[in-house]
Amino acid sequence: MHYCPGCGHSIIHKLLTQVIDELGIRGKTVIVAPVGCSVLLYNYIDTDATEAAHGRAAAVATGLKRAMPDRVIISYQGDGDLAAIGTAETLHAANRGENFTVIFVNNAIYGMTGGQMAPTTLVGQKTKTTPFGRDEKWCGTPLRMCEILNALDAPVYIERVSVHEVKNVIKTKKAIKKGLQYQIDGTGYSFIEVLSMCPTNWGVSPLQAAGWVKESMVPYYRLGVFRDRASGREKQND
């Protein structure tokens, strides 16, 4: 057991493993798990996997995919990893249209290190390093990665989903499946942002955490499809 009660990772892991089985790709999948709570992923998934240094998952995935274009490469990253230390790798892999799938778990905090401000921490949100709440004048506003990547030409599929309630859990599974199917079809770069709970570091109960996603995160991080080029839908949310 590595994950805390009420953590969203376990739900997302389960969805991912279900999709891998449904698509029958267990034998051709390689997952990249970088630094943060997501590094624990290979304990729970029976596919080949590799670690990546903090922030470098997109570069490792690039190397894997370029070397094995017929394999399914999944980069599973948290918010600190993908949107702070790994922003450059994220942006450039997306901009090259690398044909792999990114699952971006956004829980608005650093989990593994004990609850520091993430690039996605909301304004006013209290963390270990924003004890008085995130001050936008001092450290900027939270990054909306779907919106940022949606400014690039190359990505084919960008969607933001959430696992705070059943309805959205089902949508999350569909999004993961679509992203992987696009990769299998050779369509190009897909990016699925999953809003998730971190009750331990938010200092609330699992139930309250789910409620906080709905009340605080979803209004700032709009759910929905930003781009689905393969199905002809572009910027549906705009």
Binding site: G27, E51, G63, K65, E89
Partner: protein
Amino acid sequence: MGDRVLMRGNEALCEGAIIAGCRYYFGYPITPQNEVPAYMAMRMPQIGGCFLQAESELASINMVWGASAAGKRVMTSSSSPGISLMQEGISYLAGAELPAVVVNIMRGGPGLGNIAPSQSDYYQSTRGGGHGDYRTPVLAPATVQEMAHLMIDAFDLADLYRTPVIVAGDGVLGQMTEPLVLPEPSQKKLPEKDWVVDGAEGREARVLMSLRLSPQRALEELNIKLKKKYDEIVKREARCDEYKIDDAEYVIVAFGTASRVAKASIDIARTRGIKIGLFRPITLWPFPEKRLRKLAENRRVKAFIDVEMNMGQMIDDVRLTVNGQKEVYFYGRTAGMLPDEDELLQKISEVAR
């Protein structure tokens, strides 16, 4: 034997890598190694390989991780500041025991320094430049021909010991053009890559990682395993070259470009009756201590002169090896100011007086 060709050092190393079977190159521009990515950008598509310009050296070395994890022969190149950026990745590669070849065409430092030839990354290369308890084999060519030939050995060492390998050249070797005979592909028998993560079809899933959280002793066990491997490398892989050493009373120790200047000074010194020769490490780590110790123990040898294109780094290894048995003197220039034949000659005269 192949035909003699005329090539620039930075391009010769690329051809050496290609002959070694390298089909993946990831890199980022930095002087004085820019001919490497330019050459690979042209050659890789011709031979069905992959050249990709990364967004940074951090990305380069981690793309290298990806292709290596897939079981492919892969390399990157850079120069000193860029190699500093790669150290995190090299440490991870060492920890996960992934083979890769990293070429460092050294330039002057610290910091941005300048773009001129230097050997001032000796410490960084030979001590395990990143964090943690590890070493990397370091090969130091002294000619354009060696730039090509040592690439064959670098890839073999990387695969044989599952380790990143550093090829340490400098701006002179990278930029200069010399005739050479290209190497033949290696015939070395190498272990099967039974650790590759390419999809777990019909087998148990594999994980490549440097992380060892539990049980409590897991990381120490990895470190002990790595140490055993490094001991094996020290025992088997040390290499050196010698010049006019048989009757030498004085021995210059120098590698790479510095060794070429030393040869010139040695020839002149010998016309003046000074019996002096050259000891040239080809592997900087493992340092060829066994042979050097023999020279230190030899009663004929009176003193050593360590010559480097830095302020004196390899001299630590020379002193450790000589172990106080003989005097070790130093002469060095750095950051593009090459060792000067006449200055070195003067040093030799002082020492031999």
